[in-house]
Amino acid sequence: MAEYETFTYDVLVIGSGGAGLRAAIEASAAGVSVGMVCKCLLGKAHTVMAEGGIAAALANVDDRDNWQVHFADTMRGGQYVNNWRMAELHAKEAPERVRELEAWGAVFDRTNDGRILQRNFGGHKYPRLAHVGDRTGLEMIRTLQDHGVHRGIEVHMEICVLALLKDGARIAGAFGYDRERGRFKLFRAKAIVLATGGIGKAYKITSNSWDCTGDGHALAYHAGAELIDMEFIQFHPTGMVWPPSVRGMLVTEGVRGEGGILTNKNAKRFMFDSIPENYRSQTADNPEEGWRYCTGDKNARRPPELLTRDHVARCIVREIKEGRGTPHGGVYLDISWIKEKIPNAEEHIKRKLPSMYHQFKALGDVDITKEPMEVGPTTHYIMGGVHVDPDTQMSRVPGLFAAGECAAGINGANRLGGNSLSDLLVFGKRAGEFAARYARDNSLGECDNGQIEIAVADALKPFEHDTGENPYSVQRDLQELMQHNVGIVRNEAEMQTAVQEIQKLWERARHVGVIGNRDFNPGWHTALDLKSVLTISEAIARAAIERKESRGAQFRDDMPEKVERFSKVNTLIAKADDGSMQVRLEPLPEMPDYLKRVIDEMR
C-alpha cells in the first residue's frame, strides 16, 4: 500500500503558465475551491519566454482592425483546418482579455495618446500585438501570478503528475510526486484543467524549456481523450544557431516586425522571391514599401519577412540546403541596417528589442545594433493537442478540460505569432469558467486504488535497476530521431522508421535505471518524463504519416503539394482498448455562412 498525501479541490489546474493561471483565476472567481500544480516554481513556466506580444484586435493603432479581420487572418494562417468556432471566439474575446490584464496591473507600451500600443507581426494584416518591449510573456505571467495569489488559489510548486485517475468514464483526480522529496500526492478533484504547454523537448533543437515534455497531451491521451492535429509542429524561423550552447534559443519575430530583414550569404534578400499566391495581394513587392509598413504607413503592404512562420522557416531551410547559408549553418537576420533609415537607430533597437540586444551581446558576442544575427529554424510550438469542445474546452472525458498549447483547434496547420498569448487568456478563462460550472453540477468521483498502485509501481521501477541504462541517453536518442525523421522536411519512409524506432525506445525506457534516492533527483525525473515524451512523439509521427500532403507546418518532400481531400479534415489520435495508438481522419465541423462571408470579404 503506497503512502501519499491527499488534497481535495473542486477544480484542479495542472500547469502554471498563462492558460493555467487564467483558468485558476476564473474558476476561483466563480466561487469554487481551486488547486494548482506547477512542474516548476510559480512564475517560471514557459509563458515567461514569450517575447513579441498578445494578438488582439484593439484597433488602437489602426482603426480598420476588428475581430473579423483577426478571424480571417487566423484562418488563413492555419490553412483553414482550424476549428472555426475557436478562431471566432478567440478573435472576439481577445481584446477584453487584454484590457483585463491592464486592470490587474500589466503595463503595456503606449501609443502617443496613452492607449495600449500594438505592433506588426507575421500574418496579421494590421498592427495588432499588445506588447512590452520584447518581454511580453514575463509581463503577462507576472500580472496573472500577482493577481492570482490574492484569489485564494492553493499553489503546489514543483509537482509532476504521473497519471489522471478516473471514476468510470469521468475524471476523479490526479496522482503525482513532489520533485523536492519524491513524495507521492493525490489530488482529488471534480474537474481538472490541463494547461501543461508544449512538447519542444521531443526535439533536439528547440526554444522550449526542460519541462515542455507534452505531459498534458500524454496524460489526456492515456486517460481516454483524443488528440488532434499532432502533425503540425511550428518550427520558428529564427532561433540562434551559434554558439552551440544556445542553438535553438528564440529570436523574436519582433525583430522582423521592427524592420529586420533576412539575407543569405550573397547578401540577397531572398524572401522577395518566394511570396505564396494567397499572400501576394497583401505583401510588399519592394524593400521600400516593406520598410514603410514597418514604420506605420497604413497604405504600405507588409514585407515578405513577415509571411507566416511555416513558410519563412521553409525558405530558410532551402537557402541553407542549397549552399547559401552562413558559416554556422543559418541565414542572416539584420536589424542594424535601419541606421540607413532613421537617426538614433542604435537607441531605437535597444529600446524596442532589449532582451534580444542583451541575449546576443551576452551569449553570442554579437552587437545587433551593428551587425547581423545568424539564425535558423527551431522547434517552437505544437498546434496539435487535446481535442476539446470549442466553447467549454472540455475533452471527451467528462470533467477533463484543456487550454492553451496542450489543447488544439484554434491554430489549424500553423499558428500566427501573438495568437498564442491571446489563446492562453481566452481559452484559459473559458476552461476555468466551465470547469467551475462542471464542479458545481457534479460530485467528487472516487479514486481507484488500483490505478494509484500501478502509478506508484511504474514510478519506482527505475530504482529497481540501478545498473539500467542512463535515462538521458534514451531522451537524447529520441530527440535526435524526431529532429531528423519527423522534422521540418518529412517523408513517408523516414517517418515509418521513426515509428519503429520509437517502439525500441519504449522498450529501452522500461529498463532505465537511476542512481541516488528520491530527493530532488533529475535522473529519476527524466526517466519519468520519458513516458510523456515518447507518447507524444509517437502521436506526432503517426499523425504526420496519416496526412498525405503538405500543408502549413507539415512539409513532406514526397508529397509537396496540398491535397483537396485533406483540406477539410483533422487527424485524430486515440488510445484503443488494447492500448495501441489509433489514428484516423476526422471531418472538420462545417463553417456557418456568416463566417464564410467574412473570409470571402477578406481574401
Binding site: 509581463e139 495569489v149 538521458y472
Partner: protein, 265 residues
C-alpha cells in the same frame, strides 16, 4: 575555432545534513555557459545532481547559484569569463535553506509576496473601461517590471544573508515590487506605512550589493529603494510635512463642512 579543452568544476553536493565540494571534469566548447557544464555533468557523471533551470536564456530566473563566490544565473555566465586554469566553484545560494546540491528552498519569497497589498487601480479613464497613460510615466516602472525573480539580490543582501532578518525585512526584490506598485500611475493604495513597519525598509543601508548582482541591470537601490525611503521620510519624519498635513486636514475638513452646509441649504 578553439581546440577542445577541459575544465574542472567543484560542485557542492549535499543536503540539510551537510555536504562537500566534489570535482568533475568536462569538455569546454565555444560559447559554453556554466549551466551547460552542470548539464554535462548531470547527463554523463551524476544523474542525481540537483539543479533548477527552465529557459536557459536568462528570462525565467530559475538557475540562480553562486559561481566562484558570486551570485549568478548559471545560464548567463559564460565560461570564457572565468579563469579556467583554476577549478570553477559552484554552490547554492546562501540566504535560503538548502534542499539538495544547488537547490535551495526559496518558498519564503513567495510567502512574502503574498503579503504585499495587491494593485488597486483608480476608476477607468474612458467609458470603455480603459485607462490612458503616457509612455514617459511608465518608463520607470517598466524597469522594475523587468525583474525575473531570480532572487540573487535577496541572496547577496547582508540583512538576509548574514543577519537572517527574513521575518522583518522583505529584501530588495520585494522593495522593487513595492516600488513598481507605488509608482504605478494607476495605483491608489497607500503603501508607505507598511514599507516602514512590516516590510522593514529601514534595514537597507544602501550598500548597493543587490544592484551589482541584478542580471536585468535594474537600478534597485537608486531607482527603487532610495525613492521609497524618501517617501517614508516625507510621511513620517519631515516636521514641515507634519505641520502641512495637519493644516491641510483641518482646511479639508472645513471645506467639506462648508460644502455639506451648502447642500443642506
Amino acid at each position: 575555432m578553439s581546440e577542445t579543452r577541459t575544465a574542472v568544476f567543484k560542485v557542492w553536493r549535499g543536503d540539510v545534513n551537510g555536504g562537500e565540494f566534489r570535482d568533475y571534469t568536462t569538455e569546454v566548447a565555444e560559447g559554453m555557459v556554466v549551466l551547460d557544464a552542470v548539464h554535462d555533468i548531470q547527463r554523463t557523471q551524476a544523474n542525481d545532481l540537483a539543479c533548477r533551470w527552465n529557459c536557459k536564456a536568462g528570462k525565467c530566473g530559475s538557475c540562480s547559484a553562486e559561481v566562484n563566490g558570486m551570485p549568478k544565473l548559471m545560464c548567463m555566465t559564460r565560461l570564457s569569463e572565468l579563469p579556467l586554469d583554476q577549478p570553477v566553484r559552484i554552490e547554492p545560494m546562501k540566504a535560503f535553506p538548502i534542499i539538495k546540491d544547488l537547490i535551495t528552498d526559496v518558498s519564503w519569497n513567495f510567502r512574502v509576496k503574498k503579503k504585499i497589498k495587491p494593485f488597486k487601480p483608480r476608476p477607468p479613464d474612458a467609458p470603455d473601461g480603459t485607462w490612458r497613460m503616457k509612455q514617459g510615466d511608465i518608463d520607470r516602472i517598466e524597469e522594475f517590471r523587468k525583474c525575473i525573480e531570480c532572487f540573487l539580490c535577496q541572496d547577496v543582501c547582508h540583512v538576509l544573508r548574514d543577519h537572517r532578518k527574513h521575518d522583518e525585512f522583505i529584501g530588495p526584490r520585494f522593495l522593487v515590487h513595492v516600488a513598481a506598485l507605488e509608482m504605478h500611475p494607476l495605483d491608489t493604495e497607500n503603501r508607505i506605512d507598511e514599507l516602514r513597519r512590516a516590510q522593514g525598509i529601514g534595514y537597507c543601508n544602501i550598500t548597493k550589493c543587490c544592484t551589482k548582482v541584478c542580471p536585468e541591470s535594474i537600478h534597485i537601490t537608486d531607482n527603487a529603494i532610495i525613492p521609497l525611503k524618501e517617501r517614508v521620510v516625507d510621511q513620517f519624519f519631515d516636521p514641515f510635512g507634519w505641520i502641512w498635513r495637519g493644516l491641510k486636514r483641518r482646511l479639508d475638513r472645513a471645506a467639506a463642512a462648508t460644502r455639506t452646509a451648502g447642500r443642506k441649504r
